[in-house]
């Protein structure tokens, strides 16, 4: 798992930017689609499985880079909360604060029009900590799909369904109990808003 994460990050960091760049169809007034953008998302998540019931709400915000109109990469910071049914995690459980960061690559399946379906995949690092300062560190993978709406060159919103698999593998602070690594598999609905300044060197 750790090696896989490392490989994903290295792969994305090695991706070259296109030499000439791809311009948006409406790109006639000096606006260029490639370059830095900023994304904000809200995602309620839920999981019901035989071994664990958990729910959470997270907000994500971060910068991204559009290689073209079709392919973008985002670095999203996450904050929120997570409630895990008592006894599902040991030695501490219940309500946690949730924090993390996720590197995500999104590919739009259609290059034209205001409505464009997309799929995304990513990997991230996460922590959940309760009010007593006890909690767990973990990492995970993410996949999602949905449709984006672009009323202007400078703004788009996205509505999607996403799945996160997070593995928590160590305690942040020893709590005295026996620690058991655990996995959360959450399904969520994401609503995102993206600001594209359209400014490039």
């Amino acid at each position: 798992m750790r090696q896989a994460l490392l490989l994903i990050f290295l792969f994305i960091s090695a991706l070259p930017a296109p030499a000439g760049g791809t311009r948006a169809p409406s790109d006639s007034a000096g606006h260029r689609y490639e370059g830095l953008f900023f994304e904000f998302s809200v995602v309620p998540q839920y999981e019901a499985a035989p071994s664990v019931v958990e729910r959470g709400e997270i907000a994500l915000l971060g910068p991204g880079y559009a290689f073209s109109r079709m392919c973008v990469v985002s670095l999203l910071f996450a904050t929120g909360s997570r409630v895990i049914e008592p006894s599902a995690t040991r030695p501490v459980n219940g309500r946690f604060g949730f924090g993390g960061a996720r590197l995500e690559i999104t590919y739009f399946l259609v290059g034209k029009g205001p409505f464009r379906p997309f799929c995304s995949a990513g990997a991230g690092l996460y922590s959940i900590i309760n009010v007593g300062g006890f909690g767990y560190n973990g990492n995970g993978v993410h996949v999602g799909a949905g449709v984006g709406w672009e009323p202007t060159d400078f703004f788009r919103s996205k509505l999607g369904l996403e799945f996160d698999r997070m593995r928590f593998y160590n305690q942040i602070r020893a709590s005295g109990g026996v620690f058991e690594p655990f996995t959360l598999n959450s399904l969520g609905v994401s609503l995102s808003f993206v600001f594209v300044p359209g400014i490039l060197p």
Partner: protein, 286 residues
């Protein structure tokens, strides 16, 4: 270094690489190598000095495995405004430096924001390895917003009528801590800091604003906090105050223009009204 620490660093490096842009146009024709070298040297020296200062002020305690930790209730969010303001000022500072070095304006704005954000995130990552702090996603949110403002202002020029500003007067608690021999850093003195969003009112008045309103006069809405160490008495203060837009004073002096640009990042004392709970206070100087 653990695998987790390595991944954290790679995430930041990866973002920095993918943010390079493709440099589709030649924007280096007017670049002045001597100025770049000077700016580079000053930047490297300043970053090193600030790192040493921060290491002494914040990161002296034991290190721990990297982790994220929310701190949304800390300092009644005045620290979040501080992070946004810090990223905003750093982005401007890098932009001005690149402008001065001869890069095109769009290049300066773009890389100014990228570098401002990168530095702020580096500080946050260091916090993530510290036992007493952790990487705060809320701080990172604020950093991103602060670094995005100059880009938004460039894309939508009407936003240039608004600015983030900061004022500071040491709090009693901070002065007492210093007298007690504490090595506390003034940038953590959130009770002494006020963050303002200021506005140039002239843009609301069309092409012919009234002549009795000086072009350099602005208005600001500020946020501050008091009694942060007392969970019962801690509260926010809301401030409405006059403000100065020095950059709107016309001058042929390059030095004065630079000075005015710097001053416009600070709220200097001006008359204002302070809402402190249910109490309204009129201040001739805030």
């Amino acid at each position: 270094m653990t695998i987790r620490n390595t991944i954290v660093r790679i995430m930041l490096i990866a973002f920095f690489f993918v943010s390079r842009g493709d440099g589709g146009e030649d924007d280096t024709s007017g670049v002045l190598p001597g100025r770049i070298a000077l700016v580079g040297a000053i930047t490297a020296g300043t970053v090193a000095a600030v790192h040493i200062y921060q290491a002494r002020a914040w990161w002296q305690g034991p290190r721990a495995p990297f982790r994220f930790e929310n701190d949304w209730t800390y300092a009644l969010n005045i620290d979040k405004l501080g992070h946004a303001y810090g990223a905003y000022v750093l982005s401007h500072l890098f932009s001005y430096s690149m402008d001065w070095s001869g890069f095109t304006h769009s290049t300066s704005i773009y890389y100014g924001s990228v570098m401002g954000l990168a530095y702020q995130l580096y500080v946050e990552v260091e916090d993530g390895f510290h036992q007493d702090y952790g990487f705060s996603p809320g701080d990172a949110f604020s950093d991103v917003i602060g670094a995005a403002i100059p880009l938004a202002q460039e894309r939508f020029p009407v936003l240039k009528n608004f600015s983030l500003k900061w004022s500071y007067y040491p709090s009693t608690e901070y002065i007492d801590a210093l007298r007690g021999g504490s090595g506390r850093a003034f940038i953590d003195d959130y009770q002494g800091q006020t963050y303002f969003i200021t506005m140039n009112p002239h843009f609301l008045m069309g092409d012919h604003p009234p002549s009795w309103i000086p072009s350099w006069l602005g208005v600001g809405f500020g946020l501050a906090a008091r009694d942060l160490e007392n969970t019962q008495a801690r509260r926010r203060l809301y401030i409405f105050a006059l403000d100065y837009n020095f950059s709107r004073i016309e001058t042929d002096s390059g030095f004065l223009r630079s000075l005015f640009t710097v001053l416009d990042h600070f709220h200097l004392p001006a008359p204002g009204v302070v809402l402190d709970g249910s109490i309204v206070k009129l201040r001739l100087v805030y």
